[in-house]
């Protein structure tokens, strides 16, 4: 294998580590997934053959390693909490109306690096399992049926966790980003 390809693969390590750290909260687990990815990439270098961008190819391998890690950890530790969305009912009054009606957020936020950083901070505040399900859905792009299967939870539990994540992130960004602008 030409050494420049090796160097190019190795140069993607920081990007891959950031990607993995988003999905896997434990630094060690993220580093392991990246290490496994780089080893798999070096072993399969021939199958790359410039079919796609190096980073895209590596990210594809990494996704599988992340899923393996999620699968392992979901076997080791049961889901926290129950499937009831009741704690979020505090967002609504007795007649089911919003206590604080959601505002119209400016789309330009998407173009701001600081906004994405605020989002990452809000994600870190979610319970581990909630953020994991949310990121499997929204970042890795899994269908809920696949998430249920991987984590061994019911579809209803999955919807509740996704709902919880979205509502909590809304609140967090309203407080820490949109509300202060």
């Amino acid at each position: 294998m030409p050494s420049d390809i090796r160097a190019e693969i190795e140069a993607q390590r920081p990007y891959l580590l950031r990607y993995a750290s988003l999905q896997l909260r434990h630094r060690e687990a993220a580093e392991d997934a990246v290490q496994e990815t780089l080893l798999a990439a070096l072993a399969a270098e021939k199958s790359f053959a410039g079919r796609s961008q190096l980073r895209t190819w590596l990210t594809g391998i990494l996704k599988h390693k992340i899923i393996d890690a999620i699968r392992r950890s979901s076997r080791e530790q049961p889901l926290e909490g129950d499937a009831s969305p009741d704690e979020l009912d505090a967002l609504f009054d007795a007649s089911g109306h919003w206590r604080e009606p959601p505002q119209d957020w400016p789309e330009q936020a998407l173009e701001q690096k600081e906004f994405l950083q605020a989002l990452e901070k809000c994600l870190a505040l979610l319970p581990a399992r909630t953020s994991q399900v949310f990121l499997m859905r929204e970042h890795l792009g899994f269908a809920t049926a696949e998430i249920c299967k991987e984590l061994g939870i019911t579809a209803t539990h999955c919807w509740v966790l996704l709902y919880r994540a979205r509502m909590a992130l809304r609140e967090c960004l309203q407080l820490n980003w949109f509300g202060t602008r």
């Binding site: 967002l91 609504f92 959601p102 919807w159």
Partner: protein, 55 residues
Amino acid sequence: MIDCKHAARLMSRAMDDRLPLWDRARLRLHLLICDACSNARRQMQLLRRAVQRLS
């Protein structure tokens, strides 16, 4: 007629799976008359696009 609490759950679920016809109709009707829920839905969609931009 559903309330905002119910509408919020339905609109989140609609982002993940196809809602039953009846729920879809009730949600659409609610969104027509409720600005707060329409904003909430746009916020959730903005969240989705923002998360896709991470890393």
